[in-house]
Symmetry: C2
Subunit: 212 residues, 2 copies
DNA sequence: ATTCAATCGATACGAAAATAACGATAACTG
DNA sequence: CAGTTATCGTTATTTTCGTATCGATTGAAT
C-alpha cells in the first residue's frame, strides 16, 4: 500500500547539518539555550527559515528563551537518521576519495564507509586511512552481502558510468557522484550529482553581482 | 544608477557546467548537433528544463535538428564567464585542498588558482601540484595586489573564521567554504557553503524514500 | 508539392521555497 | 501583580522553480 507521500525538502536537509555542527560547538562552550535569531545570523540566514526548519524536526522552543541546545541536537540527529548507523562504500582513491575518507564529518555523524575500491592494481591492497583498498571486481558481491545502500563515486569521469553499473549490480540504491558525468541508471536508483564546477559557477556569478 | 536587476538562477548555474562537460565529450566523438531531449535524458532531467536553461544562455536551436554542439559550448562558456580568466586563492592544503588543486575541471574551464596558503609551517615552502605553499600571513597583501576575488577555504572548522577574516582583509569578494562552520563576514561578501554533510543527508533521505 | 513528424520556443500552470505578517506565550521589570 | 518585551509558532503572501500545454518551424517522406 502506498505510503502517505513522505515529504522531505532538500534545502532543509542541507541546512540542518550546519545547525547541528554549530550547536555542538555551543554545547562544548557550556551554553544551554539559543534563539533561532542567533542561529540564523551565524549562517546569514533569515530567522524565519531557521524556525521553520527546526519546527520540521519537531523541536519546540520557549518564548523569550529559545531552544534547548541539547534537545535540538538530539531532534536534528533523529530527523536526519544520524542516531542509526548509515553505511556506504567509496570507489576511487584519488585525491578526492582520500579527502572524503578522512572527513571527520562522516564518522562523527554516524556514517561509516564499509569498504574502499579502486581499479588501479597499484593501489589495491594498500591502506588508506586505515582501510584496505579492494579491487573493483569485489564490489557487487560485497555490497550485496552487506546490504550497502550508498555508493560514493570519486573516479575520473571516463570510468564513472562503468563503476555506477557495478554499484547497481551490487544493489546500491543511491549514488553520490563527484564526477561531472551524468550517470545512466535504472529507475529506482537515486543519483546525487555533486557538481563542483556548478558550485563555483554560482559563486562567481554572485561575486559579479556584488561588484555593481 | 541601479543596474537592471541582474537575474541569475542557482539551479541553472549548477546544471550548465554538466551540459558543458557532456557536450565536449560529444564534440570529441565527432557529433555536431544534439537535441535538448537527448541532453536531458543523459542527466535524468526533463527536456523542458534543458531547453529553458539553454534559452537563458542565448542559444538557439533548429526544429527537427536540435542545437549545434560547438555553438552551445561557446554560448554556455560565455554565459558562465569561462572565456574570461577567473582566479582565486586556496587556503588549507589538507586532503581536500590537494584534491581541489588537482581538479582538472577548474583549469579546463578558465579558473586558475593563483596561490596556495597554509598555516602549518611544515607545509609552507613545499610544492603541491606545482604550486608553492605560502604562509597565511602573506594572504591579504597578495590578494590585494592581484585583485583576487575568490577564496577557497579548506581548513579545519576551528580555523575557518580567522582565515575568512584574512580573506576579507585581502579584498576577497566570495568565499567557497568547505568547512561546516558558518562564517561571519561583512555585508557585500558572498559565502557559498559547501556542506558535504548536507549533500549526504539529502541522498540518505532519497534512498529511504525509494525503499517504500 | 504536400504531408508528416520531430523539435524548438513561448505561454500558462502548479508546486515548492523564501519572506512577511501577526497573534500567543513566557520571562523579565517595576 | 500588571505591563512590557523578546521569542516562538502559525498563517498568509510573494517569488522562484519545475512541469505542462500548444503553436511554429524545419527537415524528411510520399
Amino acid at each position: 500500500m502506498d505510503d502517505k507521500l513522505v515529504k522531505y525538502s532538500a534545502p532543509v536537509l542541507r541546512r540542518l547539518p550546519m545547525y547541528h555542527h554549530f550547536l555542538q560547538q555551543l554545547k562544548h562552550q557550556g551554553l544551554t539555550t539559543i534563539s533561532a535569531a542567533v542561529l540564523a545570523k551565524h549562517f546569514n540566514l533569515d530567522g524565519i527559515i531557521v524556525r521553520k526548519d527546526l519546527a520540521l524536526t519537531g523541536s519546540v522552543g520557549k518564548p523569550r528563551v529559545g531552544f534547548e541546545i541539547a534537545g535540538l541536537i538530539k531532534t536534528i540527529e533523529e530527523y536526519l537518521g544520524w542516531n542509526k548507523l548509515n553505511r556506504g562504500v567509496l570507489v576511487g582513491c584519488g585525491n578526492l576519495g582520500k579527502a572524503l575518507l578522512g572527513y571527520e564529518g562522516f564518522s562523527q555523524n554516524g556514517f561509516n564507509i564499509d569498504a574502499v575500491f579502486d581499479s588501479d592494481p597499484l593501489l589495491v591492497g594498500t591502506q588508506v586511512h586505515g582501510k584496505e583498498v579492494l579491487p573493483l571486481s569485489k564490489l557487487p558481491n560485497l555490497c550485496l552481502r552487506m546490504h550497502t545502500e550508498i555508493g560514493i563515486l570519486t573516479v575520473p569521469s571516463s570510468q564513472a558510468q562503468s563503476v555506477a553499473e557495478l554499484m547497481v549490480e551490487g544493489g546500491i540504491k543511491g549514488i553520490w557522484n563527484f564526477s561531472p558525468s551524468g550517470l545512466n541508471v535504472p529507475r529506482g536508483i537515486a543519483v546525487l550529482q555533486q557538481s563542483l564546477a556548478g558550485s563555483l559557477a554560482v559563486l562567481v556569478k554572485q561575486v559579479e553581482d556584488i561588484k555593481k
